[in-house]
Structures are given as structure tokens and as C-alpha cells.
């Protein structure tokens, strides 16, 4: 179909007949400001083609002009396959439809509507007016203001009309209603079995699985119970077997018999043991009696022996006493003799003492006199030495020359000699060679020349006087004459001074003086040594007192001696020695005598004590022995020794007899040991007792086990297990069925999805191919993707990266939507049903560059497709190069309103 001319009257804002025309095959442009009525014209186009003329639907009623309220009239001239039709419709009031066909027929009312639908391929509008579904492809291609952007929503009708050749493919994709419902049904069923999100079992499926685990648990519990039951039965069987064995009393009887026998044997053993014990006790008793008898016998014998010994001892003591008494008497006699001898010795001693003393006085007197004489001699010698010493010291002090002063003089003399020598060396020698006989009177320097005159040494002018002849003055020319002279003079002065200090005339004189002094000093020293020898370290002053003392002592000595001629010293001393020897001898004798007395006195005293002691002992001992003798004799009189022997023999006999009795009893002892019998008895008693208590325990255990069995029995565990297994098997089968079903459903869903995906690609190919060239013009290298409803879902400008259509910019969305519509229109041409694309204020979001590209695309498409563009942007769309349509008033009968 191609539009040629559209006229309206009383249609919305158009209250007067108005016409839009004349449309050409390619691009048609309607330019006008807002409110011009561009969209109203599009409404008119839609109404005349797709609305039923008789419709009272609200959108139809809204076509009226609000003020006039007249019937809207629309007339459209269009071409189909080159033939021109004129369609006129009046709505609301006196509605009518009229279609003037190219063959001249005029169809009215519904016939016109039917023809129109057949021609253009759309559905009859419903009671609420035309919808996108009834419009089919036209609704897609005719985009009203505000609808141009966004993806074209393709109703089924539009899809169907896109291509009859696509019919099967459309079905392929959709599979009809069944095709769409089947996956839903399967998905729904799947949703009953598992959750959509995590594919967890749910509903009956989950219940079954839960049931299985519940049953498995129950089964396990029951099997455990069964096991317990079986174990309990076994335990009970064992318990009862033991109990039966115990309840069979034969062992008890055997044990009891053994017990009785053992007890009998034990009694016998015990009885025998008692007899043996009694016999042993009797034996012990008799042995005691025997020991007693033997003890009495031996005691008697020992008493006799002891008495005899005591008597002998007493006799010996008496003898000893007598002997001691004799010795005492003898000792006393000896003592008196000794005392007399001692007195004699004492007298002799007295005489010796007297003699010795007299001789000692004499000797003393002689020795003191000798000492006195000696001291007096020493005193004289000391006094002489002291005199010599003082004399020498005095003389020495007179001589002033000392070694030091002598040294000084010598050095002065040397210096003077040296000065003189130097002077002489410097002096002018005046030689005289005059025979000695002619020398008389000749003087040199006032000094007659000595014979043989040799030489005179002149330092100072010398006058040589030659008698009779006169005088010769010689003035020596000495270089340092004065100095030499002065030195010589000073040296002489010094020598003179040194000599005068010591009163010497010359050096030789000084030396002599000094030698004399030395001799004196030697003499003094000898005197001192003498003194030292006589009175060492100054003893001399003490001599006198001693002398005085001795004189006094001598005067004090007994005078009687004075009368007697004093014997010689040697004689006196010899007499004294002899007297002293005598005295020592007398003393020794006196001491010996005295000691002998003392010794004898002590011995005598000891003997006396011994005698007294022994006398006492003998006295008491005698008494004791006599008493004991008396007692023993009385005892022997009462029980004679003979009788004691008889008793002892009898006791020994009794012991022997009893030992015999014990031995025979020991030999007769029973074989079984008592401990062994006791152990057997204890063992048997324990065994019997334990069997009894075990029986009780086993009975209790048996009852307990029986009770437990009854509990298990009432549960009927085997049968219960069978039932549980039955249920479990059924539930497991059910679960397996569910799982198998799930597998089937999954496979089906996957297969359907794969089939669908493949079909879609195949189906979309023509559309995509058609869009592709246009898309490349606008977006080089871009691809778009579509769903099976031909909705654009996205665009990929980069390989592998697809942008969702909704996320593209408004401008891009709009441009793509236009391109897709152009593609659809071209597809319709291919199907022999060309359609007009209408764009009402489209591309409002496009920038200048894109706008230019879009104009190119529209121009290109317009070569095959009729395009009608409404715009309010005159200047912008000038570049489109479209045929510009005019909206003009028109006067036509056919547009008459009602």
C-alpha cells in the first residue's frame, strides 16, 4: 500500500475540510510547528484504516471536535499494487464507510470494512477500538509521537504479517500455543519436584526423601533391637544352662559328702593331737621333777664340798695370822736399834759442822787481806799512768803544728818554690868566672859572691860591686818581671804567714815540731791503755770504796784469831776442804740412819694393820663356817643324802617311760594333715556356698532377661522389620521414580532449550540480515540481537560484548528502532505487501552527525519504501531532501460531516 492523499473534516482540531497531499512513492515530509495537527492527521489515518466506522468506542468518540461535536469524517486515497482506492469513513454520527475500488465498484459499510481488511491484512477492531494486536504490522511501522523510540513491540499479528514465508519458522519458534505451554508444563512439574533456585527436593519428592531417612533410622533402630533380642536370648540360654547345671544337686551332694568325710578326719586328727599334747605335757612335767631331784642331790653335794673348802681356808688364815704376829714383834725390836744409831749420827754431824765453820772464817780472812793488798797496788799504778798521760797531753798541746798546718806550709812552700823557679827561669844569669881568690870584695847585689862563684840570677837590677873597680849595674830585661816578682813575693809572704802561725821558722822546723807532737801523742795513748787495763771503763773511782769495805771487814773478823798465827793460805784451804768432806760424810750417815728408822716404822705399822684385819676376818669366818656346818649337818640329819639319790633315780625312770609313750603316740598319728583337711573343708564349703549364691544370681538374671525378652517379643521385631523394609523399599522406589523423572525433565528442558535456540537463530536470520546493512551505515561492525518476538534485546559493538538495549542511549535506541522498522518494511515489500513507514517527530534525540547518517539511510530506504515523516523542525529536516507535503483547506462533498 502507498498513501496518496488524506482529507479530514470535523476531526479533532480540524473543524474545516483539510487535505494533506499529494504523497509520493519515496520520502514525504510534513513540516509544521507544534499544534499544527500533525499527530491528528496520523490519528485520522489510523482511524480511517483500522477503526470500524460504526464503533462507539471511547477512542472513536474522542475523534470529535470538542466544540462542534460534529461527526468526524476522513477520506484516504491509497494504492495497492498500483491500483487506487478511495476510502471514506464518517464516525459517531450517521457513520458510514465507503470504499471506491479501482474497478469502479463502490463498497459500503461492512463490505467496505471487510474488503479493506483483506486488502491490508489486519484484524477487525474490537469493542474498545483498534489495538496494536488488531493493527498488526501497521502499528509497528506507524510510530506516533513519543513512541518512535524504544524497541518495536511486535504483536503476533505483526509477526504473522511480516512474512508468510516465515509462517513455519514462526511456528518453529513458538510451536503454537502448545509449543509455548509445553516447557511451562514441564517446568511446572519440575518445580513440584525441586526448588527452582537451588534445585533442592521439595513437596512430595522431599517428603519421600525425608521418609526414607526416617525409615532408615527406624530400620536401624529395629535391627539394633533385633540384635539385642538375639543377644538377650543367647544370654538367657547361657544363664539357664548354668542354672540347670547348678540346680542339678549332684555336685552339691558330692561336695557335701567330701565335706563330711573331711570333717570326720579332721575330728580324729584333732583328738589325736590332743592326746599327744597331753602326753608331751606330762613328759615335760616329769622332766621337771627329775631336774628338781637332781638339783637337790647336786646341791647337797656342793654344800659339803663348799664347807670343806671354807674350813681349809680358815685354817690357812689362822696360820698366816700367827706368822704375822711374830713378824710384828721382831720388827718392833729392830726399830729401837735403828733409833739409837740415828742419834749417834746426829751427834757426829754436829762436830763436823763446828769444824768446817771455823776453818771457813780463817780462809775468808786470808782471802780478803790478799784482795786488799792487790787493790792498793792497782791504785798506785793508776795514779802513775794518769800522771804520764796528763804530762804528755800537756806537752802536745804546746806544739801548734798539726798535719793540716804542715800541709798548708808545704803547699805555700811549693808555690813559693814555683814562683822562685819561674823567676829564676826568667832571670838574667850573670855568670862569674873569677878565680876564687879574686872574688874578695866582689858583691853582687850587696851579697859577696860565693866561692866558686857560678852564676847570679838577676831579676831586679843588680849592682855588682867590684871593689876597686867600681860597680856594675845590671838591669835584667824580664818580660813579666813585675808579675813574677809579685807572685814570688806573695808566695813568700804566704809561706811566712803559715810558718808564723805555728811558730816555725821553716818547713823543716815545722816538720820537726810535728814529729815531736806525734811522739807525745803516742806516749799519752800508752798511758791511756795502761789506765784502761787497770781500771776498765772507768773503774778507778770504785776502788776506794772496796778498799774501805775490805778494811772494815777485816777489822770486824774475830779477834781471837788475831792472836793465833795465821796459817798459810794453802794450808787453811786444804783444812777447810777436809772439814767440808767430813761434814758431808756425817750428813749422809745421819740421813741414812734416819731413813732406816722411818722405813722400819712404816713396815711395823703395816704389819700391825694386817694383823688386826686378819684377826677380824678369822673371827667372823670362824663363826660363819661353824654356823653353816651346823645347818648342813641338821639338813643331812633330816634328809639323808642316800634318800636324795633314790628320789632322783625314780624321777629318771618316770621320764623314760613318758618319752616312750610320746613316741608311740607320734608314730600313731593319722596320715592327713590338719591344714590340708581344713583347706579342703573351706574349699568345699565355699564351693557349695558359691553355687547357692550363683543360683540366686542366675535366677535373678534369668528373670531380668526374660522380662527384657518379653518387652522385645511384644514388639514383634522381626515382623516390624519386614514392614519397615517394605515401606522403605516402596519409598525408595518412589524416590527413584522422582529422580528418574527429574532426569527426564532436565533432559527435556535442555533439549527444548537447544531446539528453541537453534530455531530462533534460523528464524531471525532474515530480519537480522535486513537490518544489517542499515546498522553498518550507522554503526560500523555492530550487530544487534533479537528475541523470537523480534524484540531487539541488545547490541554488540565490540566482539564478544553485548550491551542491553535498555542500557543504550535514547538516541541510539531510537535510531536502531527506526532502522528495524525500515527493515520490516522492506521485508513486507518482499512479501508483496509494501507498507508505509510513518515517523512522527522521530529522531529527536539524535545528534547532528547521526542525523545526517539517518537522513542518508532514510533516503536509501525511500527508494523502495514509502516513508512519511512528520516534524516540527523545519530547518533541520531541510537536509532530508524529502517531498514536502502541504496541509491545505479543501472543499469536497465527500467530506461532509453530520
Amino acid at each position: 500500500m502507498k498513501l496518496r492523499k488524506l482529507s479530514v473534516n470535523q476531526f479533532k482540531r480540524f473543524t474545516a475540510p483539510t487535505q494533506l497531499g499529494e504523497l509520493v512513492d519515496g520520502l514525504n515530509l510534513v513540516v509544521g510547528p507544534n499544534e499544527l495537527g500533525k499527530s491528528t492527521l496520523l490519528d485520522a489515518l489510523r482511524a480511517v484504516l483500522f477503526e470500524r466506522y460504526s464503533s462507539r468506542a471511547q477512542p472513536i468518540m474522542a475523534l470529535q471536535n470538542d466544540r462542534s461535536g460534529a461527526a468526524p469524517v476522513v477520506e484516504l486515497v491509497f494504492e495497492v499494487s498500483g491500483a487506487e482506492y478511495t476510502l471514506t469513513k464518517r464516525f459517531v454520527k450517521s457513520p458510514h464507510a465507503r470504499l471506491q475500488c479501482p474497478d469502479g465498484t463502490l463498497l459500503e459499510a461492512d463490505a467496505a470494512e471487510n474488503k479493506l481488511r483483506n486488502l491490508l491484512g489486519f484484524a477487525e477492531a474490537g469493542s474498545r477500538g483498534a489495538t496494536s494486536e488488531t493493527l498488526g504490522m501497521w502499528g509497528v511501522l506507524w510510530v506516533q509521537q513519543g513512541q518512535s523510540f524504544g524497541r518495536p513491540a511486535l504483536p503476533d499479528s505483526a509477526l504473522a504479517s511480516l512474512s508468510s514465508g516465515l509462517e513455519s519458522e514462526v511456528r518453529t519458534v513458538l510451536g503454537g500455543r502448545r509449543g509455548r505451554e509445553l516447557p511451562q508444563v514441564l517446568e511446572q512439574r519440575r518445580g513440584e519436584l525441586v526448588t527452582t533456585a537451588r534445585r533442592q527436593p521439595r513437596g512430595e519428592h522431599k517428603d519421600t526423601i525425608d521418609r526414607i531417612s526416617e525409615l532408615e533410622q527406624r530400620l536401624s533402630d529395629q535391627q539394633q533391637q533385633q540384635q539385642q533380642m538375639s543377644e538377650t536370648l543367647e544370654q538367657l540360654a547361657v544363664t539357664e544352662a548354668r542354672l540347670r547345671r547348678l540346680e542339678d544337686d549332684s555336685q552339691d551332694l558330692i561336695d557335701q559328702e567330701g565335706l563330711t568325710e573331711a570333717q570326720g578326719q579332721l575330728d580324729e586328727v584333732m583328738r589325736h593331737d590332743l592326746q599327744l599334747e597331753a602326753a608331751r605335757s606330762e613328759l615335760q612335767n616329769r622332766q621337771g621333777q627329775l631336774e628338781q631331784a637332781q638339783r637337790a642331790q647336786s646341791e647337797r653335794a656342793s654344800r659339803w664340798a663348799e664347807l670343806k673348802t671354807d674350813q681349809e681356808e680358815l685354817r690357812q688364815q689362822r696360820e698366816r695370822l700367827e706368822e704375822l704376829q711374830l713378824r710384828e714383834r721382831e720388827s718392833l725390836a729392830g726399830l729401837d736399834e735403828l733409833r739409837q744409831a740415828a742419834a749417834n749420827a746426829e751427834a757426829a754431824l754436829e762436830v763436823a759442822i763446828q769444824s768446817e765453820a771455823s776453818w771457813r772464817v780463817i780462809v775468808d780472812r786470808i782471802s780478803r787481806s790478799a784482795e786488799l793488798n792487790d787493790l792498793l797496788r792497782r791504785q798506785k799504778a793508776i795514779e802513775a799512768a794518769q800522771e804520764r798521760l796528763a804530762d804528755a797531753q800537756h806537752q802536745a798541746e804546746q806544739i801548734q803544728v798539726t798535719d793540716e798546718s804542715l800541709q798548708r806550709i808545704r803547699s805555700a812552700a811549693e808555690i813559693a818554690d814555683q814562683a822562685n823557679a819561674r823567676l829564676r827561669v826568667a832571670a838574667t844569669r850573670i855568670g862569674f868566672d873569677i878565680p876564687s881568690d879574686r872574688l874578695a870584695g866582689i858583691e853582687a847585689g850587696g851579697v859577696p859572691l860565693a866561692d866558686p862563684p857560678t852564676t847570679v840570677e838577676a831579676v831586679e837590677p843588680v849592682v855588682i860591686t867590684i871593689p876597686e873597680r867600681g860597680r856594675i849595674l845590671i838591669e835584667p830585661a824580664v818580660a813579666d818581671h813585675d808579675q813574677l816578682l809579685r807572685a814570688e813575693r806573695e808566695a813568700k809572704l804566704e809561706l811566712q804567714a803559715a810558718l808564723s802561725d805555728v811558730g816555725a821558722q821553716s818547713l823543716a822546723d815545722a816538720q820537726i815540731l810535728r814529729d815531736g807532737r806525734r811522739d807525745l801523742e803516742v806516749t799519752a795513748s800508752a798511758a791511756r791503755q795502761e789506765l784502761e787495763r787497770l781500771a776498765p771503763s772507768g773503774e778507778a773511782p770504785t776502788l776506794q770504796p772496796r778498799i774501805d769495805e775490805l778494811r772494815q771487814a777485816l777489822e770486824a773478823l774475830p779477834t781471837e784469831e788475831d792472836t793465833v798465827q795465821m796459817p798459810q793460805r794453802d794450808h787453811a784451804e786444804a783444812a777447810l776442804d777436809s772439814a767440808q768432806t767430813e761434814l758431808q760424810k756425817a750428813r749422809d750417815e745421819e740421813r741414812i740412819a734416819r731413813e732406816a728408822v722411818d722405813e722400819r716404822a712404816r713396815a711395823t705399822s703395816g704389819l700391825s694393820v694386817e694383823v688386826r684385819t686378819l684377826q677380824n676376818t678369822v673371827g667372823s669366818q670362824t663363826e660363819l663356817v661353824e654356823r653353816r656346818d651346823e645347818r648342813l649337818r641338821s639338813d643331812a640329819e633330816a634328809v639323808p643324802d642316800q634318800q636324795l639319790a633314790v628320789v632322783s633315780d625314780t624321777a629318771a625312770q618316770a621320764v623314760a617311760e613318758q618319752q616312750q609313750a610320746v613316741s608311740s603316740l607320734e608314730e600313731d598319728r593319722p596320715a592327713s594333715a590338719r591344714t590340708q583337711l581344713e583347706a579342703r573343708i573351706s574349699r568345699l564349703q565355699t564351693a557349695i556356698g558359691q553355687r547357692a549364691s550363683s543360683k540366686v544370681d542366675l535366677r535373678i538374671e534369668s528373670v531380668r532377661l526374660r522380662e527384657r525378652i518379653e518387652v522385645h517379643e511384644s514388639a514383634g521385631i522381626d515382623e516390624a522389620i519386614e514392614h519397615t523394609q517394605h515401606e522403605l523399599e516402596q519409598a525408595t522406589r518412589r524416590r527413584d521414580r522422582f529422580e528418574r523423572e527429574l532426569e527426564v525433565l532436565d533432559l527435556l528442558a535442555d533439549t527444548l532449550r537447544a531446539a528453541e535456540s537453534e530455531a530462533r537463530e534460523r528464524y531471525l536470520a532474515p530480519v537480522v540480515n535486513r537490518v544489517h546493512p542499515y546498522l553498518q551505515m550507522l554503526f560500523p561492525n555492530a550487530e544487534i540481537s533479537m528475541d523470537e518476538d523480534l524484540n531487539i534485546t541488545g547490541m554488540s559493538r565490540l566482539v564478544g560484548y553485548e550491551e542491553s538495549f535498555d542500557h543504550l542511549s535514547m538516541g541510539t535506541q531510537e535510531q536502531i528502532a527506526v532502522l528495524v522498522r525500515l527493515a520490516f518494511a522492506e521485508m513486507l515489500i518482499d512479501r508483496g505487501a509494501p507498507a508505509t513507514v510513518i515517523l512522527d517527530d522521530a529522531l529527536v534525540f539524535s545528534d547532528d552527525q547521526r542525523m545526517g547518517l539517518m537522513f542518508d539511510i532514510l533516503s536509501h530506504a525511500a527508494q523502495r519504501v514509502q516513508i512519511l515523516v512528520f516534524t516540527c523542525r523545519e530547518q533541520l529536516f531541510e537536509g532530508l531532501g524529502a517531498h514536502q507535503l502541504q496541509i491545505a483547506s479543501v472543499d469536497a462533498e465527500s467530506l461532509r460531516s453530520a
Binding site: 513458538l174 500455543r177 502448545r178 509449543g179 505451554e181 509445553l182 536370648l233 514388639a715 515382623e719
Partner: protein
Amino acid sequence: MVFRFIHTADWQIGKVFRFVDDVAMGGLQLARLEAITHVGNLASEHDVRHVLVAGDVYDHGTPSTHSRNQVVERMRAHTSVHWHLLPGNHDPYQPNGLWDQLRRRGLPDNIHAHTESAATIIEQDAAVLLPAPLQHRRTLADPTAWMDNHLSEAGLIRIGLAHGAVYGFDTNEKQRSNPIDPARPQLARLDYLALGDWHGELQINERCWYSGTPETDSFQTRGKGTVLLVEIASPNELPQVTPLSTGQYHWESLDERVEDLEDVNLLDNKLRHLNDDLNHTLVDLRLSGALSLADLLHFEERIVEGAAAALYHLRVDRRQLFPEPTDDDLDSIDPGGIVRAAADRLRAIVEAGGSDTDLARAALHRLYIEHKKLESRLR
């Protein structure tokens, strides 16, 4: 005078049938109890004073109190009959176990639990009963061996009562325990050896029989349960053995191959004419073959939903029955469109025959079913 008794075994009261639901199980369990009453009635009918139960009275060593008592009460009701019970491998004698428990709680005078290998004179010195109770689930020794050495008075009919597997009768490893020498009647001079353990009625030799269970309890045992009426005129005479039917339920086992709609219809017909008491019939149906999805749907409707309702229980083993999607199946899903595309993909997996084959087959089947459901809803 002819000595007459009923030989039965393997009541297995308290048995749980794992493969059926609780409701069906209730019926089967009740039938086992009712069999006791039935035996009691038969005894009265045939003037029999002794019923010999050759082991496995109970299914477990520890049945529920209710199970335990139900058995006793059923027998007690038949006061003129003496019930001789023998512990079998399912309910072996264990000291203080089930049997002692029964005794402890007091057994009626007409019930005799033979828990020891000891002879009992029965029927006024006419016969001696030699029981061989089991003490364990499995014994390696022949429990009847002791009978050889047992001497009884001349003129007494000797009857052995035992539970186990006769030598060489079954080579199954599990059956090797509790072995019984089939020559025991000769060795022990028995007039009759009443055996239990084998659930089907079976004659081993002229003096040795398995009575089978009175109420069949597995698909391995065909037909309904029986007991044996045994009549012995005098010692050494051959016994006269007459099987008497007691069972309520038929247990059938079918192996069927189905390839198409016709097969399904034939199977349906076969099931519905198995016998004239479908309400008491259990069928174990093992299927093989391959069905198109459409035929499979038909199979589900006719057999799994239809015929099964006519039977007491239908167990279907379809592990060897494969859904074989045809082009028609796929076209019926959708001639085109993604669902068809998916179906094609699944069929490709099936045809590839990899490890996912079964799953893909199931998915395809499911797709088909769901599509059909959707279709019918839309329609």
C-alpha cells in the same frame, strides 16, 4: 483302622509382601490366616484328628503379638483337631524364643509344639510321631538323622515330621542347608515323612511328600495352595495321599512380547481370561519388545490401567519393553516447531544407542504424553 491325618506346612503367618501396597498386602495376609481355618474345616470334613504342620508356621522368629496370637486362636477354634507344630527355618526353636513364649503363655491342649527331636505317641498308641525341629535357620546336618536310631514298639505307624531341602532336589546354593535324605523313610522305617519348606505340593517318593503351602505366596509357585490328606491303613502299608485345595489366590507369572497394537490387545484379552476368579489373581507380567509411543499409550490404558483393575494385583516388569518412537509419533507431537525439533533430537540420541539411550527414550515418551495431554486439554 486307617490312620488319617492332614499334612501341611509353610503357613508363614506374618509374611510381608514387599511388592504390593498395604491394601493388597492385607488381603494376602488375611488369606494365610484363613487357610488355617480352612484346614481345620477340611479335617472335620475328612474325619481327621491330627494336622501335621511341617515347619514355618510363622514367617519370623519374632512375629507381632497379633500375628502370634491369631494363629493360636484359629487352631484353638477347632477343638477336635490336634495340631502338631514344628519349628522350621523361618521360626527355629530357640530357648526362650517364640516357641517357649507360646508355651509360657499357655497353648491350648489341642496344640502341640514339637520343639525337641523326641518321639511322641499319638492317636491312642496307633502311631508314633518323630519330629525334627530346627534349632537354627540353617543347619548342615540332616535333622532327621536321629530317626534311624529310634526304635518304637512294633505295630505303631511311624511318621516323620521335618523341614528342609531333600538332597539333590534343589541345587540352589541357598537350599543346601537343612538337608534331608530322601531315603529317610527306608532308613528310619518311616511309614510317611511329612516335609515342609518347598511351597509347592511335591511327591519325593511314595512315602515322602512336600505338602506345599496352603496359600500360595509367590509367583515362583504356580497355582493355588493345597494340603495333603494322608491315610495309612497299617504299619508298612503305603500311604494314600490326596491333595486338597485350600488356597484363595492364584499366582500367575507371564512372559509376554509385545510389538504393536495387536499384541497389546491380545495381551489384554489373555489377562482377562486367565481364570474365572480374576479378583483373586496376582499376575507377574514380564514384558519384552518395543512399542511405538502411540501403542505404548494404548498399552498403558489397556493393560496398566485397564486389565490391572480387573486383577487382584498386576506387577508389570517393563524393563525389557522399549518405547520405539515412530515418525507418526513424532508427527503427532508436532509436524514442526521446536517441540518437534526437540523430539527429533531425542530420537537421534536413542538411535545413537549411547549411554543416554534409556533416558532419551523416557524423555521422548514423556514428551509424547505431555503433548498428548496438552492436546486433549486444548481440544
